[in-house]
């Protein structure tokens, strides 16, 4: 039997849910449902939708590539070094995205520390390109991978790894064949959260990659641009974002944090 919650707390929860849900319901209430198919099939929207889909998927992949090694390293550290590394790795999650975008400009912009070298050496310019969108998205999405996978690793019983090692498996083999399969749900959760975060990214993208329709104008940027010009189109695109994000979060259920 589940222990009962105090009545006051249940009431507070009810009010809190209402507060959170009210803006979303108001959004739904404003959606021009009958015009929806037409609004979502315009070129600007279709371009933004397609760009958003592939850049956010690419960003989630990059976030996994960067986030997994950090998470593994973190899971074997403790004390101040661990807190410091964790803080650095998860900073983009709490930082205003515009600040993140500015930081990316200072690093990868045409005048940036790394950007200038890239430009001179390979003629590679990242700002105002779809690749720039992927970088901005990956930057803000990586912390979600780090946090979910680290907590998955910490919840893992070390005896499995010790047993594998005792049976002669190398650390690499142990990691690939024993650890990764056991934290599968954390990997999936991290990937989906990173993807959902990348899909909704706005501030870092507009700061670092600009707002070029068909090239760097992702769905959130298109919503922003359309809010002034074509409110119905903005609402239609918002609906897509809300729907996709809800599907991701509902399908994750309790995978967000690993099962105890």
């Amino acid at each position: 039997m589940t222990p009962q919650l105090p009545r006051l707390l249940r009431l507070a929860a009810f009010v809190a849910v209402a507060v959170v849900a009210a803006p979303l319901l108001s959004l739904l209430w404003r959606i021009p449902w009958s015009k929806l198919p037409r609004l979502l099939s315009t070129e600007v929207v279709a371009d933004a939708l397609f760009l958003s889909l592939w850049t956010s998927l690419a960003a989630a992949l990059v976030a996994l590539l960067i986030g997994i090694p950090i998470a593994f390293q973190l899971s074997r550290m403790s004390g101040l070094p661990a807190s410091t590394l964790r803080a650095v790795a998860t900073l983009p999650m709490v930082l205003p995205p515009v600040v993140g975008g500015a930081a990316l400009l200072f690093a990868f912009g045409r005048k940036g520390l790394i950007g200038e070298t890239l430009d001179n050496a390979a003629g590679l310019v990242l700002p105002y390109t779809p690749a720039g969108v992927v970088i901005a998205n990956a930057f803000v999405a990586t912390p979600f991978v780090v946090l979910t996978i680290e907590s998955g690793l910490r919840a893992l019983d070390p005896r499995y790894e010790l047993a594998a090692a005792a049976l002669g498996a190398s650390p690499l083999k142990t990691t690939l064949r024993v650890v990764l399969p056991m934290i599968r749900s954390s990997l999936v959760a991290g990937a989906f959260l990173a993807w959902a975060r990348a899909l909704g990214e706005f501030g870092a993208t507009i700061t670092f990659a600009g707002n070029i329709p068909g090239r760097t104008q992702t769905l959130p940027l298109a919503v922003f641009a359309a809010m002034e010009a074509d409110r119905d189109a903005a609402l239609a695109m918002s609906l897509v974002l809300v729907f996709v994000s809800l599907v991701v979060l509902v399908s994750l259920r309790d995978k967000w944090w690993p099962a105890r």
């Binding site: 400009l105 045409r110 707002n211 090239r215 809010m227 010009a229």
Partner: protein, 245 residues
Amino acid sequence: MRVLLVTATVLTSVFLNGCGSGSHSLRVFVASSLTEVAQHLAEEYETRYPNTDVELNIAGSGVLVMQMQEGAEADVVILASNSHMDQLREIGLVLESKPIAQNSLAVIVSPQLAEGINSIDDLRQRDLQIAVCVKSSPCGALAFAYASSVGLNLSSATRESNVKAVLAKVERDEVDVGIVYMSDVRSSRAQLGHLETTGADQYSTSYPLAVTADTKKTQKAQDFAALFTDEAGQSILTRFGFQLP
């Protein structure tokens, strides 16, 4: 518990003061191209009427219109085009407006490329990153009209939410070329290049000012509006590169 109560009280009072326009403040919505002018005149107003604080809400005209359509309260509103003011007039948020200034377009080049680019032909021929305002903003509407008249392709231009964002990107060499206002050229401290004989100055916009229909501070709002047409206001407007109507 006591600490909690005190905190709650403080927070509540901060919240209420912050949100409701207090009786000692005047809320002015200003188009971003007027940033410097509005800041100067707000200071001037506070010197003349020390009991009133001027709260400036500075954003692109499109954003300001949207905020007011959604119920944001303003006492005075100054936009960068008549068509944006018309949107407010149509729904009765303002009754009448008067022009306080004029501004025209300018094509600017980043400090790094300032020497190398001298004509619209250079822009058409080279693969340059251009920044303009979003089409729905006054400066964007003008920029797109101008670009099509001179055959300049803006399809790969980045569209910024307001003119100050365009200016900042050009100033810091993040883009090569920007289409902004003459007033921005005047107020910028960077070593920008300015393409002078491009015909961009033929594209100009008017700045209408209105005291809102439902302001409770009509007198204060009118006092503030008067600043723009008296000597102080006019000298500041011309100093920052605006033309008088």
